[in-house]
């Protein structure tokens, strides 16, 4: 291990951090929005819609992300005339679009399952209470069901965020120069993979450290919102114990 070389490549790899962050942020934002829609379609009563939503989730969870990225990027190149007729080739021509699309669809599939589980875990009593005070269906969803579901789903979603940070490295296979892409370029010229991957790995570690902290902070905040219901319960139990 060459320490001088290790220090020398830190700024070069750091240049890839904004690209990785942007890739992950865009995919997570779009993926979350899509996931909510997919989860809701899956839970509504129409079997056709629910089946289609399940099909989407199944396909994107059961195939490797690398295969999805390759199919979307190189596969779309094979259908260029068709895509040109549809006017969407401009989008598919761009490697960035293909990477964000693949990551978005992939995370949406996983996240929709997390959200579905969250939605199903909302106690019926809470929903009935909302109905009792005369909330409309939309109000009920916005103010009761969705916030409770998100709180329930947050730990699992934090996991998904971490997985996405790591998965973004696969974008390097379709010419995007994020952290891993730059790492490969440096290795190509220096033939020293160990130092390069040590530094690249450290960057992912740092990003995920911040991400884990952010999710934990959000969990904490949402938990305090529900604290009043839990707080009075504790002293009674304590009293019972001392008596």
């Amino acid at each position: 291990m060459d320490l001088g070389f290790l220090i020398e490549i830190i700024p070069r790899l750091a240049a890839g951090v904004p690209t990785t962050l942007l890739l992950v942020a865009q995919s997570l934002a779009l993926g979350f929005a899509l996931a909510v829609v997919v989860a809701l379609v899956r839970l509504q009563p129409n079997p056709l819609g629910a089946g289609a939503a399940y099909g989407f989730v199944y396909v994107f969870r059961a195939t490797p992300l690398l295969v999805q990225i390759f199919l979307i990027y190189y596969g779309s190149g094979q259908f260029r005339p068709v895509l040109e007729d549809l006017g969407v080739w401009v989008l598919f021509r761009d490697a960035w679009f293909c990477a964000v699309l693949a990551l978005t669809l992939n995370t949406a599939a996983y996240t929709s399952e997390i959200i579905r589980a969250g939605l199903q875990s909302v106690p019926l009593g809470q929903i009935e209470a909302g109905r009792a005070v005369g909330m409309s269906r939309l109000q009920l969803f916005r103010r009761v069901t969705f916030p409770l579901a998100v709180r329930q789903a947050l730990p699992a979603y934090g996991n998904e965020v971490i997985l996405m940070v790591k998965a973004s490295s696969l974008a390097s296979t379709i010419t995007i120069l994020e952290i891993t892409g730059i790492a490969k370029t440096i290795i190509a010229a220096s033939f020293r993979p160990v130092e390069v991957f040590v530094v690249a790995g450290a960057f992912y570690l740092a990003i995920n450290f911040v991400a884990t902290r952010a999710v934990r902070f959000a969990e904490h905040r949402l938990a305090t919102a529900s604290a009043p219901t839990r707080a009075p319960a504790a002293p009674t139990r304590q009293l019972a114990a001392t008596r």
């Binding site: 190189y74 260029r80 490697a95 290795i187």
Partner: protein, 279 residues
């Protein structure tokens, strides 16, 4: 455990490694399997191509048992240094940069690097002469041609395989271009066909599957073929620097195969033209 035991063990190990280093009756050779017709993976999933046949020929001449290992291009040199195999035969050009890290046998083949662009592009329409330029000694006329080429590709998106001499040439000699790098020549071909890149630089032999394939008429060579200089002296067997005995064995076998025309014969079979290095 006694010191004697350790000493004996150490002596045994040293002896064993010396025997292995001297004999070379088995050699593990790595190839990429994605660079037709040099080396590729055939329909049966086995490595095949010019270098695979040449390897068998050389191993027979060296009286050695050769074991073929498949390895992705970008990890080719690190894995050699890590001892996963003993030799590389993967269309690897001999360059000074690589020589700092590994050793090479004498070259067994040499082919020029050429630009390829869609046949209906401005680059193709320019009609540059398809001469051969040796970058080790560039005449004024050739320099003018290189400058003309640079103006043509200026501002365009150029594709190239990662970690190749072609990538180095683009970065050093082609000015203001957007470079897109690919892990394999096959993926480079796909993106050129998809129109995501305007033009691409690769070895003439590497272009053969595209130019002679179904879509071959849609693409054309642009300008001269480059060799020498940053492109190195040809393609050779990559070896660890300390394995001097192995290098001698390969050198001898290659020299003999070049002299009796075996390499030329194989080259014509796989490339359609003679790519053999001068003996």
């Amino acid at each position: 455990m006694s010191l004697k035991y350790f000493a004996g063990l150490a002596a045994g190990l040293v002896l064993a490694s010396q025997v292995a280093a001297q004999e070379w009756d088995t050699i593990r050779v790595a190839s990429e399997g994605a660079y037709a017709p040099w080396n590729f993976t055939n329909a049966q999933g086995e490595l095949d191509g010019f270098e695979i046949e040449l390897m068998r020929e050389l191993c027979a001449r060296m009286d050695a048992e050769c074991e073929l290992v498949s390895q992705a291009w970008d990890g080719m040199i690190p894995a050699l240094l890590g001892g996963r195999y003993d030799a590389i035969m993967a269309g690897m050009s001999i360059t000074d940069e690589r020589r700092e890290v590994i050793a090479f046998s004498r070259p067994y083949a040499t082919t020029p690097a050429i630009f390829v662009a869609p046949a209906d592009s401005a680059l193709a329409a320019a009609g540059l002469p398809e001469t051969r330029v040796d970058l080790a000694e560039v005449s004024d006329e050739e320099q003018a041609l290189i400058d003309q080429l640079r103006t043509l590709v200026d501002g365009r998106t150029v594709g190239v395989q990662t970690a190749t001499i072609h990538e180095n040439f683009l970065r050093e000699s082609m000015g203001d271009v957007t470079i897109r790098t690919y892990d394999t020549q096959e993926n480079l071909d796909l993106d050129l066909q998809a129109g995501r890149i305007d033009v691409a630089l690769a070895d003439q032999s590497g272009w053969q599957p595209l130019l002679e394939g179904e879509a071959g008429d849609d693409f054309t060579r642009v300008g001269p073929g480059f060799s020498g200089g940053v492109f190195g002296e040809g393609v050779g067997v990559g070896l660890r620097q300390e394995d001097t005995a192995l290098k001698e064995k390969f050198d001898g076998a290659i020299q003999a195969a070049l002299e009796d025309g075996t390499v030329s014969e194989l080259a014509v079979k796989w490339f359609g033209f003679d790519t053999a290095a001068t003996p």
